[in-house]
């Protein structure tokens, strides 16, 4: 019964009435996807490390704030968070700032996506970092403090370097996820890869949606796989000789 007319070269066709090609749209979308995901990852790593560390501190107040952050940002769906940053926040701030955010901020969708995705992923990274710190033998912290290192130096030089090594595998999956999650940015006007897919498969190239969706899916797989390879490379580079992770 199926009479679908397959055409895998559809992305190399000219966009009707323009001098553009569909593959150029996909490349441009991929560029924004990489920019959003990588920038958000930087935010997520830095902030996530701070928050995850804060959750393990003896100071109950600081740890409480960090816990609240994690619960808040981890339990609200990403698409809702982006919507709130993009549509709700400008209405909450003074009118002139709100108007600036709405009308004059450069690339508002991209910047909001980077920040929103970064804050969301930071909560997830924080949990990994916290788990990593707690997985270290208790004596490690004492071994730093007993030599006169401050608590901050103990975290910086003793606990975090090992915690990072312990959590590289779960961090790898967060890193892969951030590319997938960046697709949500399309919902707040970012013209990234998923947006371009929706755009092309909508009214622009309505006849060969299956091929375009499949090609975009393959691009996401390729990106996630590359992310995985990069993390594996880093894991090998920082591997401690003779140390079996998960051991004592």
């Amino acid at each position: 019964m199926s009479q679908y007319q397959w055409d895998w070269l559809v992305i190399f066709e000219n966009v009707t009435d323009t001098d553009e090609f569909y593959y150029q749209w996909l490349i441009s979308g991929l560029g924004w996807t990489l920019l959003i995901a990588l920038s958000a990852w930087v935010i997520a790593l830095i902030l996530g490390t701070i928050i995850g560390t804060a959750r393990t501190l003896p100071n109950k107040f600081v740890a409480g704030i960090a816990t609240a952050y994690v619960e808040l940002f981890r339990n609200i769906p990403l698409i809702v968070q982006l919507f709130m940053w993009f549509f709700v926040l400008p209405e909450m701030v003074p009118t002139n700032i709100g108007n600036w955010m709405k009308q004059d901020m450069p690339h508002p969708g991209i910047i909001t996506s980077i920040i929103g995705l970064g804050l969301f992923t930071a909560a997830r990274v924080a949990e990994q970092i916290r788990t990593g710190i707690l997985a270290l033998p208790r004596g490690q912290k004492n071994a730093g403090l007993a030599l006169g290192l401050t608590l901050a130096q103990t975290y910086r030089h003793v606990l975090l370097p090992m915690a990072f090594r312990v959590v590289i595998p779960p961090l790898t999956s967060e890193f892969m996820s951030i590319f997938k999650n960046s697709a949500v940015a399309y919902s707040i006007t970012a013209t990234e890869l998923f947006f371009q897919m929706k755009q092309i498969t909508g009214d622009y190239k309505p006849a060969n949606q299956i091929e375009v969706v499949t090609i975009v899916g393959l691009i996401y797989i390729l990106v996630a796989f590359s992310a995985n390879r990069i993390m594996t490379f880093i894991e090998r580079r920082v591997q401690v000789p003779g140390y079996i992770s998960g051991g004592k």
């Binding site: 004596g139 071994a143 290192l149 003793v158």
Partner: protein, 246 residues
């Protein structure tokens, strides 16, 4: 002139009274062995000296500073008090050399060259100069503990604390660690050692402190303590610890 002085020290873990009114003085240059049955509070006691365990009340004076006073710069104090752990606690991601130089560089602000030069000397002293580039997980337990001792000494501490330094070691490695500790004891540094190694106590300790149920029950020279313990509990303890099974 005592370098460590416990004054009526009490500590509770919730309902559990683990240190009961402990008063104890250790003089500069003295080597003191603290012993007692497991659960007697001896590990807790030695950890209160550099505030790895905070105390509930009382005072502990270390190098003329009250460590229980929150105005005391505890980091500076800890730098002057070396601590050797039962489980070594070397930093697994750092080489032997970096394990030793980390604190001198970060806390004492020594140059890397100076710190490394000193570290190599210390490694020679504990017989491990050839392992300076190895990582902790590539060393035996005995070697790790000797590195840990070198790490403590690198800060040029006035006091060395040992918390059951040989308990986690295989029997054939205990000797090498004890030998390093004996050499150290003879160098004149103040040492407080929690251990079951009665041979070590007999050989180099100036004094033995017997602790049970959080109380200091006896203090005596090794000769007195081993030949004529005063309390029944000390007698019981010695009988168990010196039996052929151990």
């Amino acid at each position: 002139m005592s370098i460590i002085r416990f004054v009526n020290v009490n500590k509770w873990f919730k309902q559990l009274h683990v240190l009961k009114n402990v008063s104890l003085e250790i003089a500069q240059g003295e080597v003191v062995v603290v012993c007692g049955p497991s659960g007697s509070g001896k590990s807790t006691l030695i950890r209160t000296v550099n505030q790895l365990e905070p105390i509930s009340d009382g005072e502990i004076w270390v190098i003329d500073q009250n460590v229980a006073d929150h105005r005391t710069d505890i980091n500076a104090l800890r730098a002057d008090v070396g601590f050797v752990f039962q489980h070594f606690n070397l930093y697994p991601h750092l080489s032997v050399l970096d394990n030793i130089t980390l604190a001198p560089i970060k806390v004492r602000k020594q140059s890397r060259e100076a710190a490394e030069q000193k570290a190599v000397q210390l490694l020679e002293r504990v017989g491990l100069a050839h392992k300076k580039d190895a990582f902790p997980s590539q060393l035996s337990g005995g070697q790790q503990q000797r590195v840990a001792i070198a790490r403590g000494l690198a800060m040029e501490p006035k006091i060395m604390l040992f918390d059951e330094p040989t308990s986690a070691l295989d029997p054939e490695m205990i000797g090498e660690v004890l030998q390093v500790m004996k050499d150290l004891a003879l160098s004149g540094i103040t040492m407080m050692v929690v251990t079951h190694e009665m041979g070590f106590a007999r050989e180099v300790a100036h004094r033995v402190v017997f602790l049970d149920h959080g109380e200091v029950l006896e203090q005596a020279t090794p000769a007195e303590f081993f030949s004529a313990p005063k309390t029944d509990r000390a007698k019981q303890f010695l009988k168990q610890i010196l039996s052929p099974m151990h």
